[in-house]
Symmetry: C2
Subunit: 451 residues, 2 copies
Amino acid sequence: MTEQILADAIRDMLDKGDLESVRIFIESEHPADVAHFLDTLEPAESWRLIQLLKLPDQAEIFGYLDLEHQVAVSALAGRRHLARIISEMDSDERVDLFNELPEEQREALLPALAQAEREDIRRLASYEEGTAGAIMSSDYATLTPDLTVRQAIEKLRREAPDKETIYVAYVIDDKRRLVGTVSLRELIVTPDHVRVSEIMEDDPVSGHVDEEQEEIVRKIAKYDLMALPILNGGDALVGIVTYDDAMDVAEAEATEDIHRVGSVGPIDASVRDASIRTLFSKRAPWLILLVFANIFSGAGIAYFEDTIAAYVALVFFLPLLIDSGGNAGSQSATLMVRAMATGDVAMKDWSKMLGREFLVAGALGLTMAVAVSGIGVFRGGPDIALVVALSMVVIVIVGSVIGMSLPFILSRFKLDPATASAPLVTSICDATGVIIYFTIAATILVLPAVG
Amino acid sequence: MTEQILADAIRDMLDKGDLESVRIFIESEHPADVAHFLDTLEPAESWRLIQLLKLPDQAEIFGYLDLEHQVAVSALAGRRHLARIISEMDSDERVDLFNELPEEQREALLPALAQAEREDIRRLASYEEGTAGAIMSSDYATLTPDLTVRQAIEKLRREAPDKETIYVAYVIDDKRRLVGTVSLRELIVTPDHVRVSEIMEDDPVSGHVDEEQEEIVRKIAKYDLMALPILNGGDALVGIVTYDDAMDVAEAEATEDIHRVGSVGPIDASVRDASIRTLFSKRAPWLILLVFANIFSGAGIAYFEDTIAAYVALVFFLPLLIDSGGNAGSQSATLMVRAMATGDVAMKDWSKMLGREFLVAGALGLTMAVAVSGIGVFRGGPDIALVVALSMVVIVIVGSVIGMSLPFILSRFKLDPATASAPLVTSICDATGVIIYFTIAATILVLPAVG
């Protein structure tokens, strides 16, 4: 059912005051759709509808709501009721909500929770943002190596309602160290009496609580895992990251990278719903920084003012030449930024990449020079054409090499390579391009170079 | 184990000619790691190592190899042997390989396959690239509504070895129409005698063979699905797309979008391994197109040549002003491109977005005007400062609105909104900026506007 039809149907029933029909209808819809609809309502209205449902459904829909909306609705729910919902939520989702609640509400809430949940929330809340610890769930199923298949299946069956997944179980020793994994698929095709230790996958792929989320996502994607087990400093199993959370992280990371390529700071919320203030604050710093970068181009032009005054026709080619350098540089930077983000290219590949960039950029520069030399002859005669063609080759090569190198340099200094955005590379290449162009012009046309 | 250590260990054993140790070692490693290592070898060497393994392991590793490497190794494998490997591969992976094989090899291969596999390959190969049909797998498990839980589990257990997943089973009627889904989790916690129809999820989320892959990925992510069932025109179940394939598609789509934002055509292969020719051909068309876009800026400047000659100081601010428009436009375009790709913003949001863009851009323009007016006074006196400040406000607003609107316009004409790349927007805004700047200058400084 499309969201619009869902929304219309619910509104219609609400208008008629038919809450019972609303309840039955909501229960029949996918919680993700219901949550998406609730996000568009006022928190009070949203809360009224949520209360119509059974507690587990309340918790599930809560987990699908926008975090901002969860907080707003939480403010309306009584402390006891909220504690019950939170107890039912997945451990990774509830800690995300908990972290967003006001200090006061958090403190009121904790005593209302059971001991185990309180500790779980405290523990999960302690990991730094961006690490595996911050997105992991503690609702995983464990087995011990000595269990028989029959016992293992029985244990998983009993624990199923409280676990995020029972399709992979983690085999641990008495110190909670991960010694293997076993899939439910393997368990159900194996005779009852076989021991878990005989069928488990030894030496499973795992992650570390402090590992970056990108790295976790990369492992899940590379090994086609349903969940990645996460270990602490003592190699004990402390959580799992499931594929669906990995997909969300991957999408958020890609959005952040794309925004950076366009010189926009990371925006957490939806662009559609972001406030004017948020959008302004994510864009203004970059624009202002770039203005100052462009002053170098201006200064370069000012330096060659006499050359320009004597040969105003040169100005015609200025945007074309310097932008070509910026465009070639943006291309190279973009390719490197993405390749570094996906792990396709690493620091050690710099020299290989540099050599190849020279060849590609040389070929591009020559092609572009041919493309513009005709216009050069037409607009300013053979001398100008020579200046323009020569400048184009040099500018495209220099621009490409700058664009290719910048992500590596940023990464070297522990900065995000994606900071090498298209506009930043363009600005740097512009300034370089001005100098290259007018230096070549001043040399070939034998004009005064210093203003 | 890191890839480097794995590679070193294998090479060491190979040097000693100890193939038996190589076999045991390879078998103990994750097939994804082994494949990643094999990708770095010559096809002949790779094929020699693959042959050491048992057939199911050969097929699994084959599926993890780069497609190009799969084709190269396939050329070395005998027809019968290749047919056996292909029979063991997942249906979606084998059709990907099949599509890449030379015509001749495909025709030789088909008769060596069993009837069912031949038909399956023919059917899957018939879907257009980019659609759900082209990535779906036909290795899904089905149940009928009348089965008891005990019978259902028994069926899944029997079929487990041939299915991509048995954790979700698709309940179909006698016309293969999808009537529900049931998870293995639900099955194992339900008493034996209950019917599948009583516990299945009715009205499950599904996709269509002709649906775009992005849409399929969006559904899997939104509903946290393990696999999405795919229906044909007659609403019959014909395949599934699993979450791991969806993750790969999502990554490839994000890469394509990022490349487009940087004005690079879509590159299928790894950037690290792409040939000079590929890189050239993905970059040159855009660079040349952008040169011609920049000719408009040049023409704009030429039109105002007299203004410039009379007031050379204006040229100092040219890069700064026009780039600010381009940068603001790039930001807006990037935000919209990504928001449209993730489904955050749709066509119908244009007017809302436009209104907000005016406010944000106005605020940005005023801020930038303040930032540059100081330099304006310093470099050219109050008149120039006024021209520069005023131009900045107008240029930033116009640039932002162009950048924001372009993805919508492209989408309206059924083009990829991501074609509104940062460099393209920059070029368009440059030309617009030149005209705005010199028009304002000519008006305020009362200079001849026409050259």
